[in-house]
């Protein structure tokens, strides 16, 4: 009886140890599919804001997507502030710097009101929306119009009309100085 249980314990121990080894060795094969350190290093972009004029948008590349950096006019900022958040199709800020349930006030969309930084990917099916300027207005809300299926965004990048379900995403960013911002 004793020899029997001792033998069984030995076999169970061998099997368990082997299984643990196998599981431990599985991790590298899973982790190798995660982004490489080179990809992670390229995952932040430092942007020089000084050449951007008031009322101008510049598009940068960020993690493979377009990044809209728009220097808003006081009129555009006022227009964004005047909107009642509860009337918006998407009342959440969708800002990676804030909690998920933060409301889509203009302050929650742009920490420095003058600078609106957004991921330029329409939240409907991924096209790049076109920016609206006084010379060439796009859509009715002075922000962006997505030509693929007609989604319209306002001057804070929030969805107002059209099939897109969510506001344009605000990525993680931090100002390094008045003229430099680190995105990602």
């Amino acid at each position: 009886m004793d020899a029997g249980t001792r033998r069984d314990f030995l076999y169970v121990a061998s099997g368990a140890l082997g299984g643990v080894g196998l599981a431990a060795m599985a991790w590298p094969f899973i982790d190798q599919m995660n982004p490489t350190s080179a990809t992670l290093a390229a995952g932040t972009t430092e942007i020089d804001l000084s050449p951007i004029q008031v009322g101008q948008q510049v598009v940068f590349k960020f993690r493979g997507h377009p990044l809209f950096v728009r220097r808003r006019t006081p009129a555009e900022i006022a227009e964004a502030n005047a909107v009642d958040v509860n009337s918006l199709p998407d009342p959440l800020a969708y800002n990676d710097n804030l909690a998920d349930n933060a409301p889509a006030t203009d302050a929650n969309r742009a920490t420095k009101p003058e600078w609106l930084i957004l991921i330029g990917v329409c939240t409907h099916l991924g096209c790049t929306p076109t920016v609206s300027t006084p010379q060439m207005p796009q859509g009715d809300y002075g922000g962006w119009l997505c030509h693929c299926h007609g989604s319209q965004y306002d001057t804070a990048g929030r969805i107002r009309k059209g099939p897109a379900p969510r506001n344009l995403e605000v990525p993680q960013y931090a100002f390094l100085s008045a003229t430099r911002v680190m995105v990602g």
Partner: protein, 272 residues
């Protein structure tokens, strides 16, 4: 200075002797097989070896200030400088080291990559950039170095037999004197640790070529030791992780072998 004078004297004497010999007897073929590398040891050798952090940081300084003028290290990226297992600069230091280096900038808004004078437009490097090459292509590198191509250094320690010892011997081997009868080719330099003894690289290191910020005395041997450590890391940045992982694996496997051996003996006890 003294070394140069002695070398000059020896080379002159040797040349004179060689002329004398040539005039009187048929030339004797000299075996110019490179000498075996010097027997030096490094902290990273052996199953528990690690890179000396100070040596890595000093070595980067030597690479940056001396070697990078001619040698690229294109497989290294600036973000490797703050990663564990390497020189382990802080992220801020690594950003600063990157910012101190200029890399070719992408096309500007007008699609230009060179300015009006034809100089390539450059920008400061970021952590994502690889260490830039001093020359735009192989032809430019050869043209600037008497026809010889300064090899990329990111893999050089792995790409040579006894890599660390070999590179160390080359760097410290310029002080040797050419033997009688050996003529150094014009534009080349004498180094008996290099195959054929004629090397295209001028002696890169002297005492005090760099001034170390940590106060270490910068002799040729110290500089060579530090840059070889750096280049060894450049070839194998994951070495420390590999040895650490390996230790865990070996302990586990020995345990597993023990348990399986006991099971094996138990199973077979009744069979024989």
């Amino acid at each position: 200075m003294r070394l140069t004078t002695i070398s000059l004297a020896t080379v002159s004497l040797g040349t004179l002797l060689a002329f004398g010999l040539l005039a009187s007897t048929p030339a004797m073929a000299l075996d110019t097989t490179r000498l075996a590398p010097k027997d030096v040891s490094f902290s990273f050798e052996g199953p528990f070896g690690t890179y000396d952090r100070g040596a890595l940081q000093r070595g980067y300084q030597v690479y940056k200030e001396v070697c990078s003028a001619c040698h690229s290290a294109q497989h290294l990226a600036f973000h490797n400088l703050d990663e564990p297992g390497g020189p382990e600069f802080t992220e801020a230091q690594a950003r600063a080291l990157a910012a101190a280096v200029k890399v070719p900038a992408g096309p500007n808004d007008r699609g230009e990559t060179v300015d009006d004078k034809g100089t390539p437009i450059s920008r400061s490097a970021t952590l994502a950039d690889h260490l830039p090459s001093p020359f735009p292509n192989e032809e430019a590198a050869r043209a600037n170095n008497g026809g010889a191509l300064p090899p990329d250094l990111s893999m050089v320690v792995k790409a040579r037999e006894s890599g660390p010892q070999y590179v160390y011997s080359i760097l410290t081997g310029f002080t040797a004197h050419p033997p009688a009868g050996f003529k150094v080719i014009d534009g080349k330099y004498f180094n008996p640790y290099f195959e054929g003894w004629n090397i295209g690289m001028p002696p890169p290191l002297k005492d005090g070529t760099v001034t170390y910020s940590d106060g270490t005395k910068a002799t040729v041997e110290q500089e060579a030791h530090d840059v070889v450590t750096f280049l060894a890391w450049a070839s194998e940045p994951k070495m420390e992780e590999r040895k650490r992982f390996g230790f865990g694996v070996m302990v586990f496997l020995i345990l597993l072998a023990g348990v399986l051996y006991a099971s094996y003996r138990k199973v077979w006890k009744d069979a024989h």
